[in-house]
């Protein structure tokens, strides 16, 4: 079936108006993921932009057509484990899903997620990575990349943006030996859609999907560039698109001829102050990671 037809056959589970910024590709990712996961789904949206934009609802109204709730910033995965275990116990097959920011996943809720991964709990954990705490105004997260301006790694005489590299969350989750790990990008929709569809079929452990998103408000670029930005992220190898299915690595989008990293970095404000040295460090990081990944895909594919 044609993508548009297939997607049109899925209902949008999110209420029609949510207050995400105009052009937000996290909204796009969330709507798409939940559309595919469908009505037999319970979804957790922790504090963060997607919770803040009223996707959980307002006052005595709900924001979705499926059961949705706010976990704490720090316990998304464990709350989901509890839900899933009960449904398994009573013999009902329900998609138990997180749609959580990088702050909620890579920082404050990381331990809960790591614990669920180790136990092999059969939840679908989707992390939307916009590289910072956007809901509170763009502070650094462990997923913020080196050199990035954030309001807690500001630029000034004594500071030049974030001083450490982005935590390599996808690889760390892969090393948890979970059932299925994948990265995805809203710029590569068919791939993203396939991965969510795949996630639905996994019944023997934890699924972790890491979506490389961007943020018009925080990163500083015009709203219409929302897809272009993340596409550049992928094309520059900054956001590698791969999956690890029960231990087997596979590169899904092979970037044979990357665009210059600067094409990506210079398209937004948060990097506008980068020094030569920072750019080099970022380039080295990207090159090393890419090399490692390629190797893993070759040998463990």
């Amino acid at each position: 079936m044609k993508l548009a037809e297939r997607m049109s056959s899925y209902e949008d589970m999110v209420g029609p108006g949510i207050t995400a910024c105009s052009g937000c590709n996290v909204e796009l990712s969330m709507r798409t993921a939940l559309q595919i996961l469908g009505p037999n789904t319970i979804v957790a949206v922790p504090p963060g932009c997607m919770g803040g934009v009223q996707s959980v609802g307002w006052a005595d109204k709900t924001g979705m057509k499926i059961p949705v709730f706010f976990p704490l910033l720090d316990n998304t995965a464990s709350m989901l484990s509890g839900i899933k275990k009960y449904y398994e116990r009573i013999g009902r097959d329900v998609n138990v899903v997180a749609f959580a920011g990088d702050g909620a996943s890579v920082d404050a809720g990381f331990q809960a997620l790591s614990g669920a991964a180790e136990r092999g709990d059969n939840i679908i954990y989707i992390c939307y990575d916009n590289e910072g705490y956007m809901n509170t105004g763009f502070q650094r997260s462990s997923s913020t990349s080196l050199g990035s301006w954030t309001s807690t790694t500001p630029v000034g005489d004594a500071s030049h943006g974030k001083s450490s590299h982005k935590k390599d969350m996808p690889m760390i989750m892969a090393m948890h030996d979970i059932a299925y790990m994948a990265t995805a990008s809203p710029a590569y929709m068919p791939d993203l859609i396939r991965k969510i569809e795949k996630a639905k079929t996994i019944k023997d452990g934890l699924v972790y999907i890491h979506i490389y998103n961007s943020c018009t408000t925080g990163w500083g670029y015009p709203s219409e560039k929302s897809i272009d930005i993340v596409r550049k992220g992928v094309k520059s190898r900054f956001m590698p698109i791969y999956e690890v299915d029960h231990g087997k690595f596979k590169l899904n989008v092979d970037i044979k001829d990357p665009i210059p990293l600067m094409d990506y970095l210079s398209s937004m404000k948060k990097y506008k102050h980068l020094s030569e040295q920072q750019i080099e460090e970022l380039q080295k990081y990207v090159d090393d990671k890419w090399k490692n990944l390629k190797t893993l895909c070759e040998v463990m594919g």
Partner: protein
């Protein structure tokens, strides 16, 4: 105190937020130019691009006017309608 029918914070009815009035100008597809590549459909954050009977069109109700569809349409088939 505002009373609800619930004893703790739950919500059952769907909350509708009128994000349609965020946009400055309506966004419209020029069906003549459209080559049905589905990019606008794939990338619209608010799922305002609909696909019905082989045709793509924009439902303005919740479209925020972000311009993503315009930017991503390689056939330049979409644009703001700025005229007064």
């Amino acid at each position: 105190m505002t009373k609800t029918e619930f004893i703790c914070a739950v919500g059952k009815e769907l909350n509708i937020i009128n994000t349609g009035d965020w946009k400055m100008y309506p966004v419209v597809i020029d069906q003549e130019k459209c080559v049905k590549c589905s990019m606008c459909f794939q990338y619209c954050p608010t799922k305002s691009v609909k696909y019905v009977d082989g045709t793509y069109f924009i439902n303005p109700d919740f479209c925020k006017g972000c311009g993503v569809c315009i930017e991503e349409c390689r056939s330049n088939a979409i644009d703001f309608v700025k005229g007064e």
